[in-house]
Subunit: 211 residues, 2 copies
DNA sequence: TAGATTGTTAATCGATTAACAATC
DNA sequence: TAGATTGTTAATCGATTAACAATC
């Protein structure tokens, strides 16, 4: 078992990937750690350490081979690994996520939506049908789903999380504006847009206080 | 000038707020640092330190006064401070964000949308009109807008960011899946959903490798 | 070759956690 | 009062940054 990369380093990898894709489009053959670091306003040593930590090596004097490094990142981050997901909550945000085609290239496939609003059950978002939440356990048994995406009001989120974990879900990507409590063997990543805004607003205020 | 709270601590404050709101709804009068820490799976010393860093004090033996602490957080985080914003990009995500009513209680008001698609210009999302991007500089002159929200494809994001900064915007909350380069006096917070998914997927894989 | 850039060890920095006295 | 919880100092831990030898 290889040792895991640190969380802060892992969160930087997608940025490296974005930059490397742009460099490739621009026709660059090599890119240096200093170039990457400058774009992200971080230290170049950190970039080299992160790259080393995922087992990629560059060429002294030249830099990192753009095409090679891009492939290495894709492989390390598992973009070719297909992951099936269900999306729970067919509200504004849920529908926007279901329609967004930018996730597919990272291996995420949203197969179906679930909601408890009778008006929504049966409609289709692109080619994805909206089912009743009560059908979810059955659906999970018949399909090889590894991820549940939660796009629900905070008030229902914990209840629904408990329900889908009971049904066998081990990975939850939650957009509900609340902290969820889950068993130890369930991975949860919370993407709380309201919390993100609050932090952002605070950074804005701090900045203007400094002047 | 008071010293700024650390970024990690600041990012935890919204979670504290969520928990305190739930405690208030549940009718609790006091809440201990240990109770908060347990829900977030963090250390209780850290909770006390964070609370101390925003200048709130509890009562030894009892804990933190739920109602008081909630008010203190609201005040510290500036929820009563109204912030006007424009949203650029009236695609799926942009429209979902414009329709979402959960931001208002934190002081965020999205006043108008901007897009360059002639088919979208003129339509209304709730009561918010979609204008042409070319009208943005004029609009900013006539309205007291402090924030721009970017919900655009990565390919246009830098170009649009440059344009709105030129027009006077000093704070950008970006949902574009790319790292943007901005001048030092502009605050930018990137909410890259694709990057978030990549990180999440990686955490899922690490977990399953550990078993 | 000389110079630029990587790879890596050591030093620093800051956040987290442990310990414990103060307090109601 | 005794016990529980805060507030705070000290210790630990891990991430970031500095320094520099190795390399093409």
């Amino acid at each position: 078992m290889e040792k895991n990369i640190s969380i802060p380093a892992l969160r930087r990898l997608p940025s490296y990937y974005n930059i490397v894709c742009l460099a490739l489009d621009a026709g660059d053959k090599y890119i240096s750690s200093a170039t990457i670091a400058k774009q992200l306003d971080i230290d170049d040593t950190q970039v080299r350490k992160d790259i080393a930590s995922i087992g990629y090596v560059g060429k002294p004097k030249v830099g990192f081979d753009v095409n090679d490094f891009k492939n290495h990142l894709e492989n390390y981050l598992g973009f070719n690994k297909q992951r099936k997901a269900v999306l729970i909550g067919a509200g504004n945000l849920g529908i926007a996520l279901a329609r967004y085609d930018g996730f597919q290239k990272y291996g995420l496939n949203i197969d179906a939506l679930f909601d408890n609003d009778p008006l929504k059950i049966g409609i289709k978002i692109l080619d994805k049908e909206v089912f009743s939440i009560s059908y979810l356990p059955e659906y999970l048994k018949q399909n090889d789903i590894s991820i549940a995406i939660l796009a629900l009001p905070g008030a229902y989120a914990q209840e629904v999380a408990d329900f889908i974990i009971e049904a066998g879900i081990k990975a939850i990507w939650s957009f509900a504006p609340t902290s969820l409590i889950v068993p130890n063997d369930v991975v949860i990543e919370t993407q709380d847009l309201a919390a993100s805004f609050i932090t952002f607003a605070q950074l804005v205020d701090q900045k203007s206080n400094k002047d």
